[in-house]
Structures are given as structure tokens and as C-alpha cells.
């Protein structure tokens, strides 16, 4: 047994220390994921069962939150019309980091049943980075919960870094948003 007194100290660099702390933080982050339920579409109707007593999301430490600032996950529940996408980008940019995006249903993946609609976008990850997709129309509560467990596993493996991607490729995302939306800023008769 080595005496600790004479073993040379294992000097950790600052980056390593940061990484260690980040891992500690990851434990807390993945065990307490707060949802921002933005009911963008139909899949929102399967969220109450998965949140309430039947499937009880709170077991996993998850719960709904009232405002984007408090939340960790932006839950995009279903198709996104242009009008919603504008507000979704607002909401996403308001959330505090690290933030994750979970997209439910097949519509954010490739447009789903509304692939040829004039009002619904086809692919969400052109506009904001998506970490987990849950396919299905509509996904069962089981698969919704499974998606969240995948997200937790991904946080542990450090693969869920969509928010970093948004920083790195900010220009590209903004470009896409402009192309589809025309203008991201909300204009309507009430925002005089």
C-alpha cells in the first residue's frame, strides 16, 4: 500500500476538473428533467396520460414547468405550423442552457401525414437542433417515456449536445429559419 504522503500528487488540469464537475452536473441534470410542454400539435393529447397517474412521469424526476426559463426540455409535441415555429424559436432561445429538444410524433421527422400541407413544416432539425425523436402517430405513453429514458442515457454518454450545435452552427440555423419563415420576428395585428 502506498503512503499517500509520498505519492506525487496527480495534478489535474483545469479542463479535466471542469469535465469532472460537468459529469457531476450531468447526474443531476439527467435525473431531474423539467419539461416545457409546448403543445404544438396532436401528440400533446398523449402527454396527460404519461404525466398523470397511469404512467407517472414524476417517477423519473420529470415534471411540467410553467415557463421556458425554468425548463430543461423543450417538448415539441407534434406537427409545427409556420405560426407555431416562429414562437417555438422564441421559446427555444429563451431557455437556459443546457437545454434539450425532444420531438414527438412523425411530423417533426419528415412531415408525417401533413408532408404536402402548405402550413406545416417538414423537418424540424433544419430550424432547431433535435436531440431525441420519438416516432409514431401518435406515440404511446410507453414510447414517450422510452424517449425520455433514451435522453437520460444520452446525457450520460454526452451525446445530447444539440444546444452546443445551435451555438456552433447558429448562422446555418438562422439561414434556414429565414428561408422558410420569411422573417422570424412575429408580426400580427396585436403586436403593433
Amino acid at each position: 500500500m502506498l503512503s499517500t504522503k509520498f505519492t506525487p500528487k496527480n495534478k489535474m488540469t483545469k479542463a479535466e476538473i471542469d469535465r469532472k464537475w460537468w459529469e457531476v452536473g450531468d447526474y443531476f441534470r439527467r435525473n431531474s428533467l423539467w419539461l416545457l410542454m409546448y403543445c404544438t400539435g396532436c401528440c400533446a393529447v398523449e402527454l396527460p396520460p404519461s404525466m398523470t397517474s397511469a404512467y407517472d412521469m414524476e417517477r423519473l424526476g420529470m415534471g411540467p414547468m410553467a415557463t421556458p426559463r425554468q425548463a430543461d426540455i423543450l417538448l415539441v409535441s407534434g406537427y409545427l405550423s409556420l405560426k407555431t415555429l416562429r414562437r417555438l424559436i422564441y421559446t427555444y432561445e429563451q431557455m437556459s442552457e443546457p437545454k434539450y429538444v425532444v420531438a414527438l410524433g412523425s411530423c417533426p421527422i419528415n412531415g408525417g401525414i401533413y408532408h404536402d400541407s402548405h402550413a406545416v413544416i417538414n423537418q424540424l432539425d433544419q430550424y432547431i437542433p433535435v436531440d431525441v425523436y420519438v416516432a409514431g402517430c401518435m406515440p404511446n405513453p410507453e414510447s414517450v417515456l422510452n424517449g425520455f429514458v433514451d435522453l437520460m442515457e444520452g446525457i450520460k454518454q454526452k451525446t445530447m449536445n444539440g444546444w452546443k450545435r445551435y451555438h456552433d452552427h447558429f448562422e446555418w440555423y438562422k439561414e434556414n429559419q429565414k428561408n422558410s419563415l420569411g422573417e422570424v420576428i412575429v408580426h400580427d395585428e396585436f403586436h403593433q
Binding site: 409556420l82 405560426k83 416562429r86 421527422i109 419528415n110 412531415g111 408532408h115 404536402d116 400541407s117 402548405h118 402550413a119 406545416v120 413544416i121 417538414n122 423537418q123 433544419q126 434556414n176 428561408n179 422558410s180 419563415l181 420569411g182 422573417e183 408580426h187 400580427d188 395585428e189
Partner: protein, 197 residues
């Protein structure tokens, strides 16, 4: 339902007294449809309203590009004498315009706004029919017209996902049996959790 026939007769009598009926249809025992001249719409609606048809159930338009017409539809209902009455009229497709029925049915306000938004029909008399209601920043012809193609619009505006492999059945190199076997093997793999058997 014993007196539903009487009700139908009553409506027919009311409408035929007030205006000339271009076309009449009996849809079922509790539903009637009349096509009338555009100028008579207000008269017919107010007569029906005072006779008890005071609920405006629906207001919308139908596009008939072959005749170069829009057809505006009003559906009225009377809860005491249960007959649905469709009143239809055709207006020109170029510069379509029909007077608002707000003075008769205040509830028509948003229906008219929506009809303007989706068909481009003007409703003079409705104070803000020209404001956007459902769409935001629309940059094309009104979407419910028949000559609007949503698929082309979608392709133009929204990038679609590109798949490395084409799964559609119209694939030229479509080997159905092989694909089915592949799918079966994949399902088996998923079921057993990737373990070899």
C-alpha cells in the same frame, strides 16, 4: 319527427314567397338546400331569422373554377323546428365580393374573415375582414382555391428529409421478397435484443 315534413313545407313556403329559387334540393328529412340570387341573400336570411332560424351554423365558400364562380354557403338552423337550411349563391370568381351579413348574424364575423383569408372573397360591411386570422405572412394566392397547389408550395418552402435508401414500393429495384425477409430478420433482432440465436 312527426312534424318534420310540415317544417320542410314551412321552409319551402317561406323561401319561395320571398325570392325566386334557382334550385332546390331535399337532402334528407331534416335538411333542405336552396340556391338563390346573390342580391336576395340578405332578404332570405332575415326572413328565415325572424321565422326562428336564428342560429348560423356555418358560413363558407366552394370554389368552382370550371364555371368561374365561387359559391357562398350559409347554413341556418332552428332548434324548435329542427330543419337545417342551406342557402347558396354563386358569385363571380374575379374580384369576388358579397355584402357582409353582420347586421343579421353578428356571429358571422369570424366566418367571413376566414372565408376572405382562404378564398379571397371580400365582405364589405365587415369592419376587419381583411385582417389576417389564421395564416401569418401569407405570400401566395388564397390556399383553398382550386388552382393553389399545397404540395408545390411545401416543396418550395420547406426542405424535406432525404433518405439514403428508398423504401417506397415504386422503387425500380424493388425486390419484395428480399425486403420482406430483411424486415423479418430485423424484427427478430429487435425482439431478441440483438442476440444471436
Amino acid at each position: 319527427m312527426t312534424n318534420s315534413i310540415n317544417n320542410l313545407e314551412l321552409v319551402k313556403e317561406l323561401v319561395s314567397k320571398t325570392t325566386t329559387i334557382l334550385k332546390e334540393e331535399n337532402i334528407d328529412v331534416q335538411q333542405l338546400a336552396f340556391e338563390v340570387n346573390t342580391c336576395d341573400i340578405h332578404h332570405v336570411l332575415s326572413v328565415l331569422k325572424s321565422a326562428g332560424w336564428k342560429q348560423l351554423s356555418y358560413l363558407s365558400a366552394v370554389d368552382w373554377p370550371d364555371e368561374n364562380k365561387f359559391e357562398v354557403v350559409y347554413i341556418l338552423f332552428n332548434w324548435d323546428k329542427p330543419v337545417y337550411v342551406q342557402i347558396r349563391t354563386k358569385i363571380d370568381r374575379e374580384n369576388p365580393s358579397i355584402d357582409s351579413i353582420l347586421p343579421i348574424f353578428p356571429g358571422a364575423k369570424y366566418y367571413e374573415r376566414e372565408a376572405h383569408e382562404f378564398f379571397g372573397i371580400a365582405f364589405p360591411g365587415n369592419p376587419d375582414y381583411e385582417k389576417q386570422l389564421i395564416l401569418e405572412g401569407w405570400d401566395d394566392i388564397p390556399p383553398l382555391r382550386k388552382d393553389f397547389d399545397p404540395s408545390a408550395y411545401s416543396d418550395r418552402k420547406f426542405p424535406s428529409r432525404e433518405y439514403p435508401q428508398d423504401y417506397s414500393v415504386t422503387d425500380e429495384k424493388n425486390h419484395s421478397l428480399e425486403k420482406r425477409a430483411e424486415r423479418k430478420a430485423r424484427a427478430e433482432r429487435l425482439r431478441t435484443g440483438g442476440k444471436k440465436q
